[in-house]
Subunit: 213 residues, 2 copies
């Protein structure tokens, strides 16, 4: 049965992005520190077309994050390009270059219409203006028997967590403070909608917490 | 060398107490859920004079929490009795009965003077009105070569974390949301003052994260 999965890196103080997000700091000031555990990994480097790298307890997390994923949903901020209508003269085509690491349909939550953007390697960005449920429905259809990944950011993740739409949640808890920015668990109340801690992996400089129903 | 240690249970969304703390809900609504991992343990039960109980991966955490501790510092809310001057007619003597589980001097941060309160089993509560530094100094002197434990609540812990006064921090991360209440990491900025993750214990329904310099 296809699942809706969320995986995200979070600081000890609960932030999934630092303050003052911008083109210079896409994940906010200090936000890149949330992802430093992934960059040395061979599993991650090979996805970017790079050789070499480490194999450690986090390798499994990276491998799982792309296994059996048929579609991705993300918020407008994660796709980037700033708020407001899309510029068609100098279009923003995401952070990931000509060959994004998704290789499947990606549904971007936005208030502003835009035609689909087909890039290399099988990644097509679809811009959905009818809200989070419509985006998830479209992603489920596109994924077929495979899973849908909710990629973030905080607001997109919160919308699906609040609806109880998330079947699996992988939180990579990074032992740092960001002090400000966007918290994952904000305005969600006390209801985890049946998600329970099912696995803890103590890796180098990061603790991977898996929640499932 | 004597250390200043903080150990505290925290929800996945960062709360160390739920909302609306009261005599009925000393740790706020839902706050007792933060401590459910400890109640079945033989190590904890024996401290309360009870027999039986479980031994599991959390046992070590409970044993460590009382080992080599010569004094404790806590905030007024953790000692309880409501805000404002102490009533001398119907004095509040803490939550723990005639024989509190400390068995050493406990320094309570308060704005209101009160004579020391000596209870059974070696626990004496000292009420310190000169601020957190004075309380910590007094606790260090009382502890001698042993450690000082910062017991909480959130505000007391924050005051010592902000000063970089904490040498070891044990966070028992409980896989629940409280949704509201008091967060441990609030207003502390991004500085962990050299504290690094040094140990992760994946126990039943709780993940113990140890930070040290």
């Amino acid at each position: 049965m296809a699942r809706v999965r969320l995986r995200i890196s979070m600081s000890l103080d609960g932030y999934v992005a630092g303050p003052s997000q911008s083109v210079k700091d896409p994940i906010g000031i200090g936000g890149m520190r949330l992802h430093e555990w992934v960059f040395p990994l061979a599993a991650w480097r090979s996805m970017q077309g790079m050789e070499g790298g480490e194999v450690n307890d986090s390798t499994r997390i990276v491998e799982e994050s792309v296994a059996n994923v048929g579609a991705t949903v993300m918020g407008r901020n994660m796709f980037g390009g700033g708020p407001g209508p899309w510029s068609l003269e100098t279009p923003w085509n995401g952070w990931w270059g000509d060959n994004p690491p998704y290789h499947h349909p990606v549904f971007v939550l936005t208030h502003h219409e835009r035609p689909p953007l087909a890039l290399e390697g099988g990644t097509t960005f679809h811009f959905v203006t009818q809200g989070p449920e419509a985006a998830l429905d479209a992603a489920r259809r596109a994924a077929g028997t495979q899973d849908v990944m909710v990629a973030g950011g905080a607001l997109a993740a919160q919308q699906y967590l609040a609806k109880g739409a998330v079947d699996e949640m992988d939180i990579s808890l990074v032992p740092i403070l960001l002090g400000a920015g966007e918290r994952l668990f904000e305005g969600l109340g006390a209801d985890l909608h049946g998600l329970k801690l099912v696995r803890t992996i103590a890796a180098a400089d990061v603790t991977h917490l898996k929640y499932a129903r």
